[in-house]
Amino acid sequence: MPQVQPAPSREPLLTVENLVVEYAVGGKTIHAVSDVSFQVVRGETLGLVGESGCGKSTLGRAVLQLRQAVSGRVLFDGQDLTSMRGDTLRRMRQRVQLIFQDPIASLNPRRRIGDIIAEPLVISGVKDAKKRQQLVHDVLSAVGLDPSLVMGRLPHEFSGGQCQRICIARALVLNPEFIICDEPVSALDVSIRAQILNLLEEMKARYGLTLLFIAHDLAVVKAVSDRVAVMYLGRLCEVGPSEQVFAQPAHPYTALLIEAIPVPDPDVRPAESVAVGEPPSPISPPSGCRFRTRCPRADERCSDEVPELRAVAPDQFAACHHPLI
């Protein structure tokens, strides 16, 4: 049964324009995010998928200005975050929150849960301790924890799944509009993962959130996303409505990713994996299309010319000279 979702309006809440993020490592440059542009409209969930090292986490951090971009703009609700500093930026961040992969590592082991969740309120200037207490209480109940049992305890007293609930509560306590979830369930077991995914969906409806959901697991991304963006070695390969992209991928990399997922059905014989090698280093990415070294369709044009994201179907865009559709 599909959950009732607020219909996404067409108004973009987040716009990323030609974002470039690079790291200097030992005199070399890692091209983590190269010329990435996308939009997230109010009320939708955009899933961002890719393998490790593709730049998806860097992209998430660059949106929040936790990573300085080399160039490009990040517009949140029409305002450019890249030009904001200090207080203005801090105030803006109340509207955008982040949930990390490792829920245990993202909680301070020496502080009590009640204080951990109240911290964002303190920082944002909620001076009334009673009011803070009430807000913490409410948000803990919302994520399915019993406030009276939880508030006085320390993070190590909780399991991974419960810690992720606490992290979600901390992200929600400021009543944000936008949450970046960076691999929020990949450290969790299957049975707990489903609980947390359901909780995120519930919270999205209840708090009217817009989500950027970063993950490497396509099935998890599809379960929660209205649209998906596929990233490879710092560039976007494909963007489109989830169902459409999964049914009819246009970029050969998207097709490869979908094919590689192990299906829990013994009748589906795993397709013999194509000998496509491994991703090249982001220090010296291939010229032209970055996927060309592993792509069965690559030709000369792919090494000469960087493919732009182009419409291949209604709302579906692919950066490929030889798209599958």
Partner: protein, 331 residues
């Protein structure tokens, strides 16, 4: 199972002393693997699957107490002298671990590690061992194997390191390979390549294999038989097609249902399993899954169901109210 039995695990239990009391990590497990067959052991973290594999390999932590028998090719590994055991490991019994960075020695070259294994077990001279190493690296799909021999593990990618670990494991033609979460640390496109590599080498060598994983997707198309573990016990065991099509144990059903499916529409509510696995230092009376089970009734909370064969040979489950049976309907 038509193949002769190669490995037989009989009544194996592993106890670990902890500050909070005894932890029974593996509880009375019986398993059989035929020559050339593949067994998948599936379970969530803490279910005892890794401890079981360590018990088979006789690589348990020093303080662990092991009871039961582990028969490989007619020999009880539990009774074997350390020296005999060392000869056997690597030669007849090999293992591939989850994290190739920690299973390879970071200060020795790939070549040294491979050649050492070959010399130790096959008594080859250096040049023969070197030649064989190059062949092995080529067989596991490593480009430019000659040059790789001189490299250190940190110079290789995660996927390449796992290929090296597999090459070392395969080097002495083991009869049984235990792969403990061999692809969990790898990306999905690399995972498919490594699983294919394992399957191909297994067929070629007629080697038996145990794949230990938390991912039902990994075992579905790649094993002959699957054992599902929960709280230290095997709770269901069946030939792979039967397990997926006619699962009896509610835990197996719930585990499969909780996986997001690619063909489901976005925003579909996932049938999550409520609660979490029991604390292994506080054993529960009755079925360990009963507090989370939607079929649990009376006796489930009082008595532990035994793993027993029912209507189908080879299909065993530990449940009072198995799905799809009269007793299950009653619940």
């Amino acid at each position: 199972m038509t193949e002769p039995v190669l490995l037989s695990v009989e009544g194996v239990a592993v106890d670990l002393p902890t500050p909070r009391g005894n932890l029974r990590a593996v509880d009375q497990v019986d398993l059989k693997v035929g020559a050339g067959q593949t067994l998948g052991i599936v379970g969530e973290s803490g279910c005892g699957k890794t401890m079981l594999s360590r018990a088979i390999l006789q690589l348990l932590p020093r303080k662990a107490k092991l009871s039961g028998r582990v028969m490989l090719d007619g020999q009880d590994l539990v009774q074997l002298a350390p020296e005999r055991l060392r000869k056997l490991r690597g030669r007849s019994l090999a293992v591939v671990f989850q994290d190739p960075m920690t299973s390879l020695n970071p200060v020795l070259t790939i070549g040294t590690q491979l050649i050492e294994t070959l010399q130790e077990h096959l008594e080859l001279d250096v040049s023969a061992a070197r030649k064989r190493s190059v062949e092995l690296l080529a067989a596991v799909g490593i480009p430019a194997p000659e040059q790789r021999l001189m490299q250190y593990p940190h110079q290789l990618s995660g996927g390449m390191r796992q290929r090296v670990a597999i090459a070392i494991a395969l080097s002495c033609e083991p009869k049984l390979l235990i792969a403990d979460e061999p692809t969990t640390a790898l990306d999905v496109t690399i995972q498919a390549q490594i699983l294919d590599l394992l399957a191909r080498e297994q067929r070629r060598r007629h080697m038996a294999m145990i794949i230990i994983t938390h991912d039902l997707g990994v075992v579905a198309g790649r094993t002959d038989e699957v054992a599902v573990m929960y709280a230290g016990r095997v709770v269901e065991r069946a030939p792979t097609p039967a397990l997926f099509k006619k699962m009896r144990m509610p835990y197996t059903e719930a585990l499969l249902a909780a996986i997001p499916k690619l063909d489901a529409a976005p925003h579909t509510v996932l049938p999550a399993i409520s609660g979490r696995p029991p604390d292994p230092t506080r054993p529960i009376k009755g079925c360990s899954f009963s507090p989370r089970c939607r079929y649990a009734a009376g006796e489930c909370f009082r008595e532990k169901p035994l793993l027993a064969e029912a209507e189908q040979p080879d299909h065993q489950y530990a449940c009072f109210h198995p799905i799809g049976t009269a007793a299950g309907v009653e619940a």
